[in-house]
Symmetry: C2
Subunit: 346 residues, 2 copies
């Protein structure tokens, strides 16, 4: 039975908090029947979320009677479900809907949700739940598979979208490319992957390496980045992923106008050149690795400001730069393809 999803974003229908919903709607549009946010029922979804033309915003589950799946559409820091949402989740369970969640707090560990799910014979799918216990060993890595990794200057700035868009563009060019999902949203979009930020610390780089080993029959892997090396809350996740996935090529992602660290606003983000240098140094500990382009998220600025910024960054770094949504991913896909063909990374 195919999934017919209601995305729950009640009270949080904006592209920042509801980034899980936004990405599922963007990349799995055929499965989404509605967004649930009673305060915005009937309004235009794209004007609130930036995506979702044609997807209705409904006030209650009764307004989406064909749906069989409720997706928790937010990714809050700390990963707890808003208390106001409990009644909606319980109603969905009573209606016979499966619940899909990427939160750190597992629905299946919640006694009330678990009992209701048993009673109504629905599934509680916790995308982040895992029992990974593999240690990275650096054995059996295929030297003929190009690993590209998107890293960034902060969290929630578009590393996943750049990876997906570049992968899709490479496929269109005829390459056997694979998007390697490392977060709950990416896993929902791609249908596989591992939730790197929810793995026990000793095994995070092992999980990243496992993803490489499982997918290295493809020509090119584009591995989704997490956090940033300069984010005090998540830098270790970022480094585990960088060292575990051993990318030969890196794409530097950033948001124009982002100046302070998400969630730690008293800290300024260092300049991009410093972010680039730190990533080169830390990746370089494991093997040769170099930047081949920049992914610019320009959602906060006008088209002309974005173009001026793009030109400045091209001049600063001597690398191709684009906003994968505004400009399309062509220059980054070209850069990856050229790098692959040159073959010096082998």
């Amino acid at each position: 039975m195919s999934r017919r999803i209601v995305c729950l974003t009640q009270g949080h229908t904006n592209p920042h908090t509801a980034k899980t919903a936004a990405s599922v709607i963007r990349y799995r549009a055929e499965e989404v029947v509605a967004v649930l946010d009673s305060a915005h029922a009937g309004e235009d979804l794209p004007s609130l979320l930036g995506v979702g033309a044609g997807v209705p915003i409904v006030a209650s589950l009764a307004d989406a009677p064909t749906a069989n799946t409720l997706l928790i559409g937010i990714a809050p820091p700390g990963g707890k479900i808003p208390s106001a949402w409990r009644a909606i989740v319980l109603e969905a369970i009573r209606r016979g809907m499966d619940i899909v969640s990427g939160l750190h707090d597992f629905l299946s560990d919640d006694p009330e949700f678990a009992a209701a799910a048993r009673e109504h014979q629905v599934r509680l799918v916790d995308v982040r739940k895992n029992h990974e216990q593999t240690i990275a060993r650096r054995i059996g890595i295929n030297p003929n598979c190009l690993r590209v990794h998107t890293v960034g200057h902060d969290c929630s700035i578009g590393k996943m979208c750049v990876a997906i868009e570049v992968t899709n563009a490479l496929k269109q060019r005829g390459y056997d490319a694979k998007f390697v999902a490392t977060g709950q949203t990416g896993i929902l979009v791609e249908g596989d992957g591992l939730p790197i930020d929810c793995i026990v610390a000793d095994f995070v780089s092992g999980a990243a390496e496992k993803l490489v080993l499982a997918n290295q029959h493809h020509q090119i892997l584009v591995i989704e980045g997490q956090g940033s090396l300069v984010h005090p809350s998540y830098s270790g996740v970022t480094l585990s992923l960088l060292h575990g996935s051993q990318p030969q090529a890196l794409i530097l992602c950033y948001e124009v106008g982002r100046e302070t660290v998400t969630g730690v606003e008293q800290m300024r983000i260092p300049p991009l050149a410093e972010i680039k240098r730190l990533n080169e140094l830390m990746a370089g500990v494991m093997g040769p690795s170099e930047f081949i382009g920049l992914g610019m998220n320009s959602r906060r600025v006008s088209a002309s400001e974005a173009e001026a910024e793009r030109a400045r960054r091209v001049a600063e770094f001597g690398l191709p730069v684009c906003d994968v949504f505004r400009d399309g991913p062509a220059v980054l896909a070209d850069a990856v393809a050229a790098y692959y063909e040159a073959g010096q990374w082998r």
Copy 2:
């Protein structure tokens, strides 16, 4: 009721695999009644383990009738209990002993152990088990508390021992110093702390920050390091701890003669100067941080070789260097005290 511990090291009575047992015997000698290793019963413990004068090696639990606690004395990569040990653990439970374990595989999650423990009313203490879900925020840090952190060039080279020895020497000098344990062995020795390497990835630096917030009423914290920034399996744990604990002062720990990465022997460890530089750069992202000394583990070399090595490193780095066991921790404690008194870190 005080603990009377049998350390289980069956088949692994050596200072590398049985480092948990070795440290508990070194620092909690008054609680240890015996070591259990049937192949070495009656032999001299110090000649096998490097510590434990006067502690008998016994062949079975029946030979230590006063014991009330069995300690799993090893810390294998991956953290699984050797299958041959299951019968010994079950016998200990039947004898009414509590079981203390620092393994990643929790005894309390094992149906057979859990059922036996219920039947015999004993406790299964999994030191690594935790439900930490705090994100680092960098709020409320006491600027008058000096945070010293031991970092290293590999795992299992003495970062914990240097931290304990320096803390004890600072206390002898009259400072209000506290050893902050971040691993299962340190927690067993100190009686508190958090098992940093077993926390869900997103919350590792938050746990490190929590340890700082909980202990910063002391003048000086000496925070136990984990792994190394150049270890492909554990570098993320190391960085989370470095960023979460925000040390103003660092001590560089290494083992003389250690050339390849533990568990990843095809990788050579970079030179110490490079390890130092990477730690300075990554710590520096969060704030001023500098090295004030080196802890040298010289167990593999002779006294004269150790002294020559020590002199070379003093010349190379212009910093005090000592083996805390061979030379005593005085020069490192002096360096911390001088740094504290100079006060420029405030």
